[in-house]
């Protein structure tokens, strides 16, 4: 009996069981499904706030972000995540309608102060616009704005003209109507 137990101990100790992990030099393989720190695709985010609404711990807040897409609404806000409260349940990822919020394999987020683990859009964003792209997009946005203004002006002009025409036609119709009425009366 004693021998049997001893055999097991020996097997365990010689059998090449990896007992200690060499963290942090060697981090264990994490699966693709791992739920770590969020990643926000800044080019896809539509700022709807679905993530903030579904969060059970209320740790997602929408904040303004200067380096967002200038083509979109300038007041659009992006999620900021407080990892002091996040429990990594992944409901925000499931609920995202634009599929822009995902979770990465990063889990080392310790900080010295509470504010250190509040990650704003600039910390979790991928595919951020660089300065040149931003300038180009701003130019595009400006052009689009101008185009829009021009179109609006044109539309207003056309509308005005149309309204004037309609008025004239109405008046004409009224006049003719009056005439027919008069005729009938005669």
């Amino acid at each position: 009996m004693v021998l049997k137990n001893l055999k097991m101990t020996l097997k365990r100790s010689i059998g090449g069981v990896e007992v200690t992990r060499l963290y942090p030099e060697k981090i264990m393989d994490l699966p693709d499904a791992e739920r770590g720190v969020h990643v926000l695709d800044i080019r896809k985010c539509i700022g709807c706030g679905a993530c903030a609404r579904i969060c059970p711990n209320d740790c997602i807040k929408l904040v303004p972000y200067a380096r967002g897409n200038p083509l979109k609404n300038k007041k659009q806000q992006y999620p900021q995540i407080d990892y002091g409260r996040c429990m990594f349940c992944g409901l925000c990822v499931d609920d995202c309608p634009a599929n822009c919020l995902t979770m990465s394999k990063v889990f080392e987020i310790a900080g010295w102060e509470r504010d250190d683990i509040v990650y704003g859009p600039e910390d979790i964003a991928v595919g951020q616009y660089n300065d040149q792209e931003l300038a180009e997009l701003a130019e595009e946005a400006r052009k689009a704005e101008e185009e829009k203004k021009r179109k609006a002006a044109e539309a207003a002009k056309a509308k005005k003209a149309k309204a004037a025409k309609a008025k004239a036609a109405e008046e004409g119709e009224k006049g003719s109507g009056e005439k027919t009425a008069k005729k009938k009366a005669e």
């Binding site: 009996m1 059970p56 429990m87 990594f88 349940c89 992944g90 409901l91």
Partner: protein
């Protein structure tokens, strides 16, 4: 075989007029509203004539719109038939009082005490209506009522008033301010009852007897709870249990969250059983919504829940071995090493090792990754081999056997009377398993054996767990062979879950026993009431009678062999 219809017609003929409303939905679940003055007779009739010998719990619901409280008693049978009777009793809100079932079912005691302290429903004929989970300051505010105004701020130490008691202890009290009394957050007239310490000191009879405290923070107690044993020499004369040290109010929290937001909170009931808790909650809400997960989704749930059972049993057994021989730490570490591989299998699907939040209404979150089958089969092979080794080790070790055999024996009748479920019940020769008894998911298609032992002692309980690991391996292998391709989520599940008004009860076989969720919907996007019926609650209630008459040295061996989890008891 008795069906729910048979039970209903028998009830209606035996007690004409006592059944006010009745429905059967789904099959095997009988919902009936019973007249308040007939409830004890009806339950006695069901217990004696239709073998409803398992009192599974009770849930109190505050129906503030109707001015009513509703108490739902859950009755089932230990294997005679598969009908679950959910008997509702209504009582007016201004003077709530319901007849107690403690005379019929011994284990109704704690469930009724909890409803009394949370909702303020008086149970006529209850022998000890003392608070169970709440602290003494909170008794009388009735926190589960819908018009509960909130907890007064006791956090400021300036308000504390120091008092020296007669035995020289310093105690602090927090007198309520006038504003709090006006706002109604502080009870004005508290119910009178002897405190826990007074109750246990009443039992001391002679000079040779004394009370030995184990806990709330004790090296061999899993989680904080107070186990006081009244000893006479080396024998335990009576045991007292005080729980509620980590009462989190999960059921109340879930009333203030949407249905989807409740899923991660069910993980926190007990992290060892996160997946089965998810399953029980999601299953209840699926019943309310009338949806069902597609076949592949159900298979994935089964695979993961069985893997989760393996890891829980491994840790439970390892923890137990450290409890009985605190100096020997190596068996615990052996099992932890094995468990890591199982956790890695689960993690590759769910993305988390402990708190999974993986099951969704109508399916699961992800599909299985590539290579999951090979990885799991390798792990199962290793687990099988190791479990066989453990069994051999335990059987061959004469010291272990001397310490365990015949210790804490629960006879089948006693185990049923105390209302325990899971491995402790099956170790007492009662093959009661929800996977067989109330088949959920696709367990009815699976080929597996319900493990039982005849002895009912501590050793049998551990053996049942080890054998269940092997049985779980077999179930997972079958699932991996049979799993079809297809979607993992049902179609047409709305993003905003808003079930029609109604209620549902769904129970699953947790690693430790019967886990059930009772969910009431009032038509809004938040549940009106969630009641978790956990297995460890029943174990804890059964501990004091089980410990009577044993040696002090065996207390830990018996309590440890139950594989308890305080977090789930307190909720």
């Amino acid at each position: 075989m008795t069906t729910a219809n048979d039970v209903l017609s028998a009830l209606q003929s035996a007690f004409p007029g006592a059944v006010e409303e009745a429905k059967i939905s789904p099959e095997r679940q009988l919902w009936a509203t019973i007249k308040p003055d007939k409830i004890v007779d009806v339950c006695k009739y069901l217990r004696d004539n239709h073998s409803f010998d398992h009192y599974s719990g009770a849930a109190g619901v505050d129906k503030i719109d109707e001015g009513l409280f509703e108490v739902t008693e859950l009755l089932a049978s230990h294997g005679a038939h598969q009908v679950v009777a959910l008997l509702k009793v209504k009582t007016p809100r201004d003077d709530p009082s319901v007849k107690s079932l403690t005379g019929l079912y011994w284990n109704a005691n704690w469930y009724e005490r909890e409803i009394w302290e949370m909702l303020g429903i008086n149970f006529e004929g209850h022998p000890e209506l003392y608070p169970l989970l709440l602290c003494d300051e909170l008794v009388g505010v009735w926190p589960w009522r819908k018009d509960f105004k909130g907890y007064p701020d006791y956090t400021t130490a300036e308000r504390a008033i120091e008092m020296v008691t007669s035995d020289g202890y310093t105690e602090y009290s927090f007198p309520p301010t006038e504003a709090e009394i006006k706002a109604g957050t502080v009870p004005v007239d508290r119910p009178k009852y002897p405190t826990f310490r007074e109750r246990e000191e009443m039992e001391i009879e002679g000079e040779s007897e004394m009370i030995l405290h184990m806990g709330p923070q004790h090296a061999v107690v899993p989680g904080p709870f107070l186990l006081d044993i009244l000893v006479d020499g080396e024998r335990v004369k009576k045991a007292f249990l005080d729980v509620g040290y980590i009462h989190k109010g999960i059921e109340k929290i879930m009333e203030n969250r949407t249905y989807t937001q409740g899923i991660p909170i069910t993980d926190r009931l007990c992290y060892m059983a996160a997946l089965t808790n998810n399953e029980a909650y999601c299953g209840a809400v699926e019943r309310l919504l009338g949806i069902e997960a597609p076949e592949r989704g159900q298979y994935i749930r089964m695979i993961l829940e069985e893997l989760s059972r393996i890891q829980s049993h491994l840790l439970g057994t390892g923890e137990f071995l450290t409890l009985i021989a605190s100096a020997v730490y190596s068996p615990f570490l052996y099992m932890i090493i094995d468990r890591e591989d199982v956790l890695s299998c689960i993690e590759s699907v769910t993305g988390a090792r402990i708190n999974h939040s993986f099951v969704r209404f109508g399916g699961v979150r992800n599909d299985l990754p590539d290579g999951f089958k090979d990885m799991t089969l390798d792990t199962l092979k290793m687990i099988r081999q190791k479990t066989e080794e453990y069994k051999e080790l335990f059987l061959s070790d004469s010291i272990y056997r001397k310490r365990m055999e015949g210790v804490g024996v629960l006879s089948p009748q006693e185990a049923r009377r105390l209302g325990v479920s899971g491995p402790p019940l099956r170790a007492s020769d009662t093959p009661y398993d929800m996977r067989r008894e109330d088949p959920y998911l696709l367990y009815k298609d699976m080929d597996f054996e319900v493990i039982t032992r005849k002895e009912g002692d501590s050793k049998a309980r551990v053996e049942v767990r080890l054998d269940e690991i092997l049985e779980s391996c077999y179930i997972i292998e079958q699932c991996l062979d049979q799993i079809p391709s297809g979607p993992v989520m049902a179609e047409g599940v709305p993003k905003r879950i808003k079930p029609d008004p109604g209620e549902a009860y769904y129970r699953v076989e947790d690693h430790r026993g019967e886990m059930g969720f009772f969910v009431v919907s009032d038509g809004s996007d938040k549940p009106a009431k969630v009641k978790a019926r956990g297995p460890v609650y029943a174990y804890f209630q059964a501990l004091p009678p089980l410990l009577e008459g044993v040696y002090i040295a065996d207390v830990v061996a018996i309590a440890g062999s139950m594989d308890a989890c305080t977090s789930e008891v307190d909720r």
